[in-house]
């Protein structure tokens, strides 16, 4: 079957690939672009570790038909650091022991970024809501919630 050409912005850079019909964005990112930061957990929308931002909105890349991002901007964990410097959320995750095995971390960070980009000083409840589509089997969530609150407004906001 003929492949379909696909062009979009990946972490600020134009990319062009050919996909098989029905390919999901997670497979396109990992196998065709080589960005391994979004993870495969379930392929069913249940775990959130494949989360990416599409035009700034949180999406599950495993449930996104790759062709639908034509002409759009896709941001993954690989794109959030600033040169050699970690993003404040990454720093806060490290400082607050918010990653144990680390498998959920890429999705948690993207969900947290989607929140803070819109709402720089969220309440605790808003953080819980923002990461509610992301499963973590290690931390019990508390260190993750604390890390997001610590990163929010440079650690000033706590509710």
């Amino acid at each position: 079957m003929a492949k379909t050409p696909l062009q979009f912005r990946h972490n600020g850079r134009e990319v062009a690939i050919f996909v098989d019909g029905g390919t999901n964005l997670l497979v396109a990112l990992r196998e065709l672009i080589g960005d391994m930061t979004p993870k495969f957990g379930c392929g069913q929308g249940g775990c959130g570790t494949c989360s990416v931002l599409i035009d700034g909105e949180l999406h599950l890349s495993c449930l996104t038909l790759a062709e639908t991002v034509t002409g759009r901007s896709v941001e993954t964990l690989d794109g959030i650091k600033d040169g050699p410097n970690l993003h404040p959320l990454q720093r806060a995750f490290a400082d607050n022991f918010a990653a144990q095995c680390g498998y959920c971390t890429p999705g948690m960070l993207m969900a947290a970024k989607a929140l803070l980009d819109r709402n720089p000083s969220p309440s605790r409840d808003e953080v819980v809501e923002a990461i509610s589509g992301n499963i973590c089997r290690c931390t019990g969530y508390e260190p993750i919630i604390n890390a997001v609150l610590a990163a929010a407004s440079g650690g000033r906001a706590r509710a």
Binding site: G43, Q44, G45, L65
Partner: protein, 272 residues
Amino acid sequence: MPVTVKTFTSTNEAAAALSSDRSARYLGGGTLVMRALNEGDISISTVVRASDHALTRIDTGGSRITLGAGVTYARILADRDLGFLHAPARSIGGPAVRNMGTVGGNLFAPNPYGDFTVAMLALDAVVSVQGGLGSREVPIEEFLQSRDRQAGTLVLAISFAKPGNAEAFRYRKIARIKPKGGAVITLAAYLPVNGSRIVGARVALGSMAPTPIRARAAERALEGRSLDASTIDAAAAAAVEGTSPSDSAIASAWYRREIVSVHLKRLLSGQE
């Protein structure tokens, strides 16, 4: 297995492509279709999309509200005129699912999903569908009863009369996992009051039958009465009538039958 993806600018062409091919599936937000493809569902060989902007339009201007089939929950949550629908929209998935999932797709979502459709059923919505032979309006209850046979039709929009009073609409989803989780049951009610009497009561239930259903016996107990303790008790007692819930990983059919009256009572008496 690769599938063929067909994207059309017009809904006419998309509808024709869907009705002419039994293995074609329309892609809304894709939260259920992509799941199926990821699992290797071989019954789907063609995915149909339509990019017509009408599908993503929200119209709250007139006496009726129209939601294009491709409207997402995030869009509803961002719309102040749709405040009464924020509770059902917020009850669905996590933030990513709300950015992706559409109200059109929800009409087809099997249990434990279909929460938004329960709200639409209580509002007695009309579903605009485009078949191979043209478009028509189908009352949502009829649409749901024949849902299995709607596979080849394209849903364009859902519309309903703007509630005269936002308080007349109530919604409650019972889930074990908070804030996100599939429903044990879902309840929605529309109770317009004339003087002190309820006129035109509608109660809808999710996960109490293969598709969302109206609780007719409970509606009869409410109709023409004032919403006092004895009316609420009578409606709650009648809630289970006509239901046929199933066992699932979330709850047994027995449990669903046991709790539906408790939650209808809470919904009607405005309890948290």
